[in-house]
Subunit: 413 residues, 2 copies
């Protein structure tokens, strides 16, 4: 990293044009400290102006009122170079949307949902619950974020868990790890920690999405666990190094646990647990919500049972990792159970999946939005069925977009 | 009871015409011993000929082959008078379809399902699973069968239950009893007994549907329980006094537990439990299937979780008696949750419920079949929504059929 000033770096960025130049990374590092994440207006401003120009305008006092109000006096401060150095010292990096490592496909669900928010900031969802993509992610650990997110499941639940809940979370984490699935959770006591430990014990991949800096994970009592996650999995945060785990940050963070994964499993949850909100956010992003039941005599399963009783939520009861993989692997009813029911891959496809498949071109890949337009369905539907179609070897991503995958026999010729 | 011969009684019956004459009762008593229940062909033969004429034809060798094959050598025997006397001695009675006490509305579901069976006996459902109404019911105890069945819920589950399952079944039985609902179950060890005991402890109504004679309930170790049921609830059986609890009779009996109740709750069930079959039969009769979850680590909850994972079954997770009453009281989505959602009783009604309501006449009551024809829906749908409409005071049964219930204000004038 050079020792140029922020302004020098930004000038350089403009000269470089698009791409993950040092300027873009430094601009997004600055943005990650300048404003609390979760604001639709702020995200839109950065999307429209680009990160470098966005920072220049904020620092020059030329940003819209809503954006300036969020940044306040921090517009004049700059810790971006220190933050990047501090991250480097603890083995972390800043992953930005311009990087290949950015988990673009999964986070696209948040992009679509954010785009549907109204223009008027007063009518937008509150920052603690708004569906909005992160501006950048501080990532600590050896794995590539996009690769682990591609086959990942969130396991969430109570901090004040029971021995039963911890046993089940640990078993699920272990079995998912054995099957090559990544576990994503917070870093809290109870279900979070049990799921991570299960995955680590199986030699599996596991990711903690934090509400504080990746160099000072919270709670401190999980120091050894976080150390293992940084060595064998990933610690991920929207907040810059050193950031403290304020209470509201956990709420803002929860959308990433839902948004970075194919589905969310709730293991134990009391009647008004935060895990319930994470589950409902996952459903709004078109992700599968899965729930582990428990004894009806246990207060820590009351929230789980309420989720399963909510017909509109469409949550699925899961009792094992096999049940979980069945849901996220084929994403609900999009693909058939197995060869005994489907003589051809297309046979078991849902109506939407068939339409999306028919919309895929043979040569140049196209965007999910384009597929939605051709298939006459919602972009969220397209994003929901694409992974299933990809797993069934029916479509492939070319880097620029989606296209049909030619059968093995044809490719072999 | 007179000491006339069977043939004398039957002659008397023909002279009397329709109605629960001694002849009809004696004919049905004879039929209940002459053939194992559950045969669609046999039931149709009795329906078409009437019970008295049916017995005359069977005894004269003039019945169809399928009917004669079921009766065999028993055509020449007659224990009907002895059976009726034996029932009388233990405080039991034979309730026949011609009696007011016959639970006609609930059993109509079985009638409709039996009518849909094919004509060819070889293509009909096997006797152990066929949906077919009983020809008569031996009933022991002080309650009126039709009245207790009207507000009844089946609680079924494993014989090899856990302490958890027995606790929950007992609590459900107790709370349902307190709320004025009747518990219906078998007489087995485990969940059955726990549900009965809970209902009895609350001073509630409880019914055991047996696979043997009501004078020799099985298992013998439940002698004290059966004694209390005969004193405070009901023992019900299709088989005449003295009948032994053969294994296949439990399977045949199960359709009555589903058919005599508004809904079925499964408390604990292993992977291949008989309770699962009862639940699926309840669903085929249009009744609500409710399932109590348990720890995913418990083998005795595996069957319950499979039922909840079966999207086609539409089973609802219940964790309390309040959840159960919510389902059977409003029967799924047919009625709104409460006054805060519905300003008028009609507001919360499903499309089918509205059509059935519109089909009800103001004066003379009409049959569910007639309502189905006018409302352009299935008879099973009509039978499913009628109890909910009745609970909402929108329709009433006149004895001959269903009609609109006039609002209180009009009736008061």
């Amino acid at each position: 990293m050079t020792a140029r000033s922020l302004d020098e770096d930004l000038e350089q960025g403009l000269a470089d044009g698009a791409g993950p130049s040092p300027a873009v990374r430094r601009a997004r590092a600055w943005l990650s400290r300048a404003a609390e994440p979760g604001s639709v207006s702020f995200w839109r401003f950065v999307e429209d102006a680009g990160p470098v120009e966005a920072v220049r305008r904020i620092r020059a006092g030329r940003a819209p009122d809503a954006v300036r109000a969020l940044v306040g006096a921090r517009a004049e401060q700059d810790a971006s170079r220190a933050d990047l150095l501090r991250a480097q010292r603890c083995g972390a990096r800043l992953v930005v949307p311009e990087d290949d490592e950015w988990p673009a496909l999964l986070l696209h669900g948040l992009t679509v949902a954010a785009s549907a928010e109204p223009d008027d900031p007063r009518r937008q969802s509150p920052r603690t619950t708004a569906p909005v993509p992160p501006l950048a992610l501080w990532v600590r650990g050896p794995s590539r974020l996009d690769e682990v997110a591609e086959r990942s499941v969130a396991i969430v639940g109570a901090r004040a868990s029971t021995a039963y809940g911890e046993h089940v979370a640990g078993e699920l984490g272990h079995q998912l790890g054995e099957r090559g699935w990544t576990v994503v959770s917070g870093g809290a006591f109870g279900i979070d920690a049990a799921a991570h430990r299960g995955a680590l014990a199986a030699g599996g991949s596991t990711v903690a999405v934090l509400a504080c800096g990746v160099d000072r994970p919270y709670p401190a009592a999980h120091g050894a666990l976080f150390h293992r996650l940084a060595e064998e999995g990933l610690l991920v945060s929207e907040w810059p190094p050193g950031a403290a785990p304020h209470k509201h940050r956990f709420l803002v963070r929860n959308r990433l646990i839902a948004g970075l994964t194919r589905g969310t499993v709730v293991v134990e949850a009391a009647a008004r647990s935060g895990a319930l909100a994470t589950a409902r956010r996952a459903q709004k992003l078109g992700r599968q919500v899965m729930v582990v039941p428990g004894p009806v005599t246990s207060a820590m399963s009351v929230g789980c049972h309420e989720l399963l009783r909510d017909a509109e939520l469409g949550a699925v009861l899961v009792a094992s990792a096999a049940h979980v993989v069945q849901e996220v692997g084929r994403l609900g009813e999009d693909l058939a159970d197995g060869p005994e029911r489907a003589s051809e891959p297309r046979d078991g496809l849902s109506d939407v999946a068939c339409r999306v498949l028919d919309a895929c071109p043979v040569r140049a890949g196209v965007s999910p939005e384009r597929l939605a337009a051709i298939a006459a369905c919602d972009v969220l539907d397209v994003l929901r069925v694409l992974p299933a179609l990809e797993l069934a070897d029916l479509v492939e991503h070319t880097g620029s977009g989606w296209r049909l995958r030619r059968p093995e026999t044809e490719r072999g010729r």
